[in-house]
Symmetry: D2
Subunit: 335 residues, 4 copies
């Protein structure tokens, strides 16, 4: 059986999930929606995805630009087994999916309460098995779960403090700033800490965050107090075996997020995406059981494989998280 | 016969030319060189390219990082029919190529006098046929030739003034600025005007240039006085038929270089490269025979197909420029 | 007689005009208005300016923050001889000023038609004498008039092409981008050309514009075809005698807008403002009667002395433009 | 007695210290040195400071630009009671000062070992009394000492973790990047932690640091575990009474470093400097005895008043730190 997946909102995340679904052999895209007749809409059609208007009111806009439309979201939902909601946060489509009787995955801009299930493949795949509504946590939260879960489950974490240095805007966004400023999130903790706890409820984590004038990646400075005797090598060895985590090294010329994104270009994935979390190997230090590390997050890409695993769990395609992760990663060329 | 191509300097341009050569059926990479054991060196090996140290002194550095080396540049030159010099400007390798009796292509950082032949496929392919040494002009000059040559040969150009708004650093370069400043090139004309004339000697062109804090693309504001009666539609129609020129439209959401690079990501070429020059269709205006337009240049990519055509001309693989351009573009997926 | 000046809108321009008025001996601030109880409002009060709410609805906001308010704009207008409108463009206050029977100066965000008189001190001071409503043209237009008017009136200008490389946001604005993109103004000519013609109606000028990721200054690349035989030295000598134009030199370390703003800091004006237009002396070149030059514009400051002169003309304080300019500049420390 | 102060290196810090010395009644500038005939050299002369070449070899450069020179550093040292070394780090002038028998203050780029005394006015003024060689710690370290010392001396600090989000280049520096990247300091702890301990040896502090594309300010995210029961109000009240610390509030429109620098402009100090450390009042939170706060550092300015106090201590002008701080701050208009 091939699961039919609808994408509501063919934008930054939606288009990437659509491509990732197309690479799997147990699921396929039955259609994507959009609102405005932009170049992205034209590219969706060119990619061969059945194309729908998100709402009736947008049909005429597409027709004016000669972009053929197969119907609206409601029509698309008829065809689908599951819908991936990639609309802007609080778009409020859940009732429509419910009415159509379809399972749905939401993204990390939504609150945990919308689904009651916040997902990270390594941390809690099992809880998503058979679920109707799942929220794949945000790019930053995914990044924190990817590197903290294996440590917590192996060594135990006493507590974590993480500072999120966030990109001000996505690369395609030429409207948002700042151009030359740093802006702190004055609420403490920033929403990232509680968000990690929606996946790992027992983790003692504090987070703060600042926004900076860059577009390409977030960067986290993390300090974790580990339980028991753990060495730098223990931590590196653990991460080395962890999927969707990739080491980079300053001594090989990767000194900043700029060179990580250049490495991603050389890796040759579509859109030069980096689906893994990048950790500086020469920035990992355990001192007196306190672990320091830096990780970088490709905010447009890291949640994409989690969406695939969530589909697989929800649709009962696979019960074993490691098998799903491996299948997803091999199909997407993540090694 | 398959032409064997060596790449001296597997960096920003070198790695792209290596990939482009690999996509052609009448040429192949016989090896690439590098100096330092960086992540780019590791990626070169992973890509399957025979890997050489640029000089003997660099061999130990590669060995220390367990990067297998097949020899040095001199060994590589034995294998090659032609070498593409992608080293930093004024590296001074020409004598070495001459001694080895090999043809060589240089990049636009070098002076015209080094080869006496400055190349743009549409403008002067024929002059490169059988040549031993050719210089592919820089990204900005290539951009100007690509859009001005078809106008000049069709309508005639009285004179052109172009202002180059240049990116401060490449995306992978986190050292160079400016972070928050605009820096003019005070020499007038900037080197771009005379450089265009090294390809189109009779063109009356003046250029100025400024450097700005962006990494992704150069942008040109061009004003050209055309000979005779020409309309906006005439110009658009001409460019529409010109290879390696692509229209983008603000009304489809492409308002800045940010969205052009996003479009390039969606186009799916390796490294999200845009090999074409992007012209804003809704920014083309002819007023009283004066043509105004804006074009954007992906500085890392636009010269790559020109290198392929230059190989073909120099090695007598093809005498007809349009056939070479078409062959190159089809292999590279440029449409 | 001391002219009483009201400032409606104590923001980027308003606060600077308020300080400039305070430095003159023939005018004084009778009050300033604001909408929101920000740090700028607190600074206005600290500066000793009588403080008013722009509208009645904003009074409670100020009271909540214990910022004492003397009344509203309507009360303030009673006290004033003239009001300087420094509100965001199209705020639509003109009718209110008319009803109060007060003269008013508007800023360059407004259309020429609002007042029928667009002002630059050197170019058309006389036309503002006794006028009721005057518009001081925008920072970019002021910059172009400052350097083109003396050339046109001395040598004659055949035609001008100017490219505006514009800062994306003001230094205090951390919301607006772009962070990493260049955005062209696709309409040709950009509004700057016609705007210069609202001051210098007979000038043949074409302009284009792009927006870049910097906050500190605009930069213009200007090409002007002069009438008759003119040398580089002639032009430099003319500007040397022109008020509110300042030469900077790359050979003294001023290579970009960054060092111009550093020079401004060293000059010691309040807010490190540069009221003059900065021209690179070593970037001025006349080649075959075509003049090339680069100028930089401190967008927050250059229109401030023009507002002072406009007050003086409109209120019949001075009939001779050179005397007003000199008086303004001496009081403000512009040399 | 008026102490005669020489400035070796009239650059970013040197020119500010020179102006600050001139504002005091118990010290005066006897001369400043420079190497190159830049606009800054011209401004030094304009400011009326006796001007010297740093070395003999630079005299001719100044003469070529008609900048009058009174001699070299060696001549200047004859006139001075104390020299403030504001040269780039590791310039190695200490032996020259020793040979001339003059006291000297160095800046934070130097190592602690150079002087054996690292200075912050509040933390250890007394240790500098009568000292011959003192090092005023760097801008970031000064910022950390200013806010941590009063907490530690009042409440006790168990431990502190601070993340430095550092500006990539100073505002006048258009060469350095990054333009679009975040670069972590992979060494842990970053040098800031040990540097704070050179002033506060018993403080348990860990620091990490990243570099971001901004020019105007550093920002620190600090987490401090306090001893005993302390409330948010306790902390705010303590800082409220602490000199050289200033609260800013997001609710008054100060959301980022951009608006802090705008506030500094409105405060009207020369060069729009902010000599205080800015703390977001609405970003101060004590949760279970853990204090979270954000502070911003004007990297060009905060160490300037510390230099003045250090002069006073070293030259036995004042024994009481609070009296010196008050005297310095009143003269400089810091409130």
């Amino acid at each position: 059986m091939t699961i039919k997946v609808a994408i509501n909102g063919y934008g930054t995340i939606g288009k990437r999930v659509a491509d990732a679904v197309s690479l799997q052999d147990d699921m396929e895209i039955c259609g994507v929606t959009k609102r405005r007749p932009t170049y992205e809409a034209k590219m969706a059609v060119k990619s061969g995805f059945p194309f729908y208007a998100a709402e009736k009111e947008f049909v005429s806009g597409f027709e004016a630009e000669k972009i053929p439309v197969q119907g609206t979201l409601k029509d698309l939902l008829q065809e689908a087994d599951i819908v991936i909601d990639c609309t802007p946060k609080k778009s409020g489509y859940k009732a429509i999916y419910e009415n159509a009787g379809k399972k749905a995955i939401f993204q990390g801009g939504e609150k945990h309460d919308l689904t009651g299930m916040s997902f990270n493949a390594m941390a809690n795949y099992e809880q998503a098995i058979g679920a109707d509504y799942v929220r794949v946590v945000s790019c930053n939260t995914t990044g924190l779960c990817r590197t903290l879960y294996p440590l917590d489950s192996t060594f135990g974490i006493e507590n974590v403090t993480a500072v999120m240095i966030r990109r001000g805007a996505d690369p395609w966004d030429s409207k948002s700033g700042p151009i030359n400023a740093i802006e702190p999130v004055l609420k403490v903790p920033s929403h990232h800490g509680p968000d990690v706890q929606s996946v790992m409820p027992d983790l003692n984590i504090q987070t703060t965050a600042v926004k900076v004038p860059t577009t390409i990646m977030h960067l986290h400075s993390v300090v974790a107090r580990l339980k028991g005797e753990v060495t730098t090598e223990d931590v590196i060895e653990k991460w080395d075996k962890t999927p969707r985590v990739r080491f980079v090294c300053a001594k090989h010329g990767i000194k900043s997020t700029a060179q990580i994104m250049e490495l991603a270009k050389d890796l040759g994935k579509k859109r030069s995406d980096l689906f893994e979390i990048a950790i500086w190997r020469d920035g990992v230090h355990v001192v007196d059981n306190v672990l320091y590390y830096y990780q970088a997050i490709h905010q447009e890409a890291d949640v994409v494989p989690e969406n695939i695993d969530a589909i697989r769990a929800m649709c009962n395609l696979e019960k074993d998280k490691m098998k799903s992760i491996k299948k997803t990663d091999e199909a997407m060329g993540i090694c």
